[in-house]
């Protein structure tokens, strides 16, 4: 069976995790690419001005600026993947290499109908990109599917921060977002990838991400979702070669009746590779959250640790914490810890005795709980994360 036939068949293949979505009910617009800059007021939601974004996708319309001089002089390329596939052999070689198009119906849909919208980022060897590379994905109309496919390649010895904000304008309540992302971190290279999601009720989100980190490379992933959503399911996979490192942080604030199924998988394939997966989950209202972590130890001297902490902030909410460690090498050291709790009365009373009201005490606990210090995050991302956590903590007290 040809690849295309296999992928077509996969259009009916559900994901093993998360709510199954009827993808046929969404409208997919004709993919379009424009080379120009745009302004759109999304800053309040994702803390990123589209004007500083090197790539902006509105639904199935990709808009990108000419590469800024500051990045161009370093040899950094940021272009829609569709353009990159036409122009560069490398992009053609890398696309769909880490994520199989027939993985499930969402990858299949993107492969067949996405038109390879999404961004391609290439960072030349030894380049330390001094400013973050911003990309922005906005689903802009009801009942539409936004399909994005991103490829990032950080060549050997290089360092880059890619920041992606995903959002939806006020008033748009239904839709499907599928984002396929493939990250390649070269030998002794470093990639920090921050993704901040602000969606809405009625929206289904299915990111499909895989990363490969070469010898001595380092990949830091920071993921945050703080908005209501109908359902979101992601389980990104990272393959680590010799001495490579992964630090993956997920911060999830579950809202309304959202179904959040969010995990990270690490495959320690190289000697001395390591992974640390950290998640902080707060479930408000009627939300349901699955926090997954999976580390597979395949090589000697590899190390992995999963930390899943959950806070149940509503009697109607639900959290399932599912850390799994699998060792296939006796010299691989793996561990995990998972705990789910509530904000205990004694914790509040303790903080009250330190001079804080009940609301302030709850806010301090939620804020502190969600604050993960992922190594090497750009200052702007840190500031935005802090602002959002403050917002979540304030809102959380009132729920």
């Amino acid at each position: 069976m040809s690849l295309r036939d296999r992928v077509k068949k996969a259009l009916s293949k559900p994901s093993p995790y998360g709510v199954d979505i009827d993808i046929s009910s969404y409208i997919i617009e004709e993919p379009q690419v424009f080379e120009r800059s745009v302004e759109e007021s999304v800053e309040s939601k994702i803390g990123m001005r589209p004007s500083i974004s090197q790539y902006l996708q509105l639904g199935q319309m990709a808009l990108y600026k000419l590469i800024e001089k500051s990045l161009e002089k370093y040899g950094v390329k940021v272009v829609p993947l569709r353009v990159a596939i036409e122009k560069f052999d490398l992009a053609r070689d890398l696309a769909w290499r880490l994520v199989d198009p027939d993985t499930d119906k969402y990858t299949a849909l993107t492969y067949l109908y996405g038109g390879e919208l999404g961004y391609f980022v290439y960072v030349s060897p030894e380049v330390k990109v001094p400013t973050p590379i911003y990309t922005c994905l906005v689903l802009r109309a009801e009942r539409r599917a936004m399909l994005a496919h991103n490829v990032v390649y950080v060549d050997y010895g290089a360092e880059a921060h890619v920041v992606t904000g995903c959002t939806i304008p006020h008033g748009v309540k239904g839709g499907l977002h599928v984002g396929i992302s493939e990250f390649y971190v070269g030998r002794d290279a470093r990639l920090t990838f921050s993704m901040i999601h602000s969606w809405a009720e009625g929206l289904h989100v299915r990111p499909r991400t895989a990363a490969k980190v070469a010898e001595g490379g380092e990949y830091v992933s920071y993921y945050m979702i703080y908005s209501p959503v109908s359902s979101i399911q992601l389980f990104p996979r990272t393959i680590l070669d010799m001495g490579a490192k992964l630090y993956a942080a997920s911060v999830i604030a579950g809202r309304v009746q959202g179904n959040y199924d969010i995990g990270t998988k690490a495959q320690l394939e190289g000697t001395g590779s390591s992974a640390e997966l950290v998640s902080r989950v707060v479930a408000f209202e009627d939300s349901k959250i699955y926090a997954r972590g999976y580390i597979e130890g395949l090589a000697p001297e590899s190390r992995g640790h999963i930390e899943c902490l959950g806070l149940l902030a509503s009697p109607n909410a639900e959290i399932s914490s599912i850390p799994i460690v699998t060792s296939r090498n006796p010299q691989s050291i793996l561990s995990h810890e998972a705990a789910i709790g509530i904000i205990a009365r004694e914790e509040i009373e303790y903080l009250e005795s330190k001079g804080f009201t009940e609301d302030e005490a709850k806010s301090i606990i939620i804020r502190g709980f969600m604050n993960i210090e992922a190594p090497g995050l750009p200052d702007m991302v840190k500031a935005q994360v802090k602002r959002l956590i403050d917002h979540i903590a304030r809102a959380g007290v009132q729920l």
Binding site: R280, L309, L311, A339, G341, A344, E346, E347, E349, Y350, L351, E352, S353, K354, G355, F356, T357, E360, I364, I365, R367, G368, F369, M370, N371
Partner: protein, 233 residues
């Protein structure tokens, strides 16, 4: 003072002036912790009779957070573990509330700097727990510090540091203290003890200077009180 409907502390009169250190000695279950909880305004203890005056004002009906803001701080004997919330985070909030600066000495004396990146009280040794709780208490720069068994379950090195911090706060900031202890382990290391009270069965049965009360530490509460001429009903 009542817990639920049970009277746990009665007929207690304590008058603590600025910079004074009052020690309350007593066996387990004597009502010492309940007394401090009532002064702090913790909801588990209710004032069912009498008043608590602080700075000339009746604060008996004032909630705990307001008492803290007025200058009362409690170093709890039992502290909650708050997973996911780092010590540095709590420190930051307390400094924001009470003003920063001038706390470095206490930080050094109590040797708690290395705990800042840890979750609050999670996996702490007894000494670390007591030292950090005292640090957070003194960080409030209280006018009156209530120290609940600061010498319980700590090693000799931690005990020395805790006593040093108490002495520093009293001498440098004129902080008043009510220090509760059942073992009295810390007493020899304190410079200024204004008065010592012995509490039994929810009542203060004897108040005098430290020297006079040492006999209960050497001979036990029952025999020591007999020596002091106190008869227990």
């Amino acid at each position: 003072m009542c817990v639920d409907d049970r009277v746990v502390v009665r007929n207690v009169y304590l008058d603590v002036s600025c910079g004074e250190v009052h020690v309350i000695l007593g066996p387990n279950g004597a009502g010492k912790t309940s007394l401090l909880s009532a002064i702090m305004g913790l909801p588990r203890v209710r004032v069912c009779g009498g008043t608590i005056i602080f700075g000339g004002e009746d604060i008996s009906g004032v909630p705990a957070y307001e008492r803290a803001r007025r200058g009362i701080a409690l170093a709890h004997q039992f502290v909650p573990v708050i997973r996911g919330v780092k010590v540095a985070n709590i420190v930051k909030h307390i400094i924001e509330r009470y003003g920063g600066g001038g706390y470095e000495n206490i930080l050094d004396i109590l040797d708690v700097k290395h705990l800042m990146g840890r979750y609050l009280f999670h996996g702490f040794s007894g000494g670390e727990r007591r030292r950090l709780e005292l640090y957070l208490t003194l960080l409030q720069r209280p006018k009156l510090a209530l120290l609940d068994e600061p010498d319980s379950g700590v090693d000799v090195d931690s005990l020395k540091l805790i006593a040093e911090a108490v002495n520093y706060a009293v001498r440098s900031w004129s902080t008043s203290m009510i220090l509760v202890t059942h073992s009295g382990a810390i007493l020899d290391k304190l410079y200024d003890v204004t008065r010592t009270h012995i509490m039994i069965g929810g009542q203060i049965v004897y108040s005098r200077d430290l020297e006079a009360t040492r006999v209960v530490l050497s001979r036990g509460y029952i025999e020591g009180l007999k020596v002091l001429g106190v008869s227990l009903q």
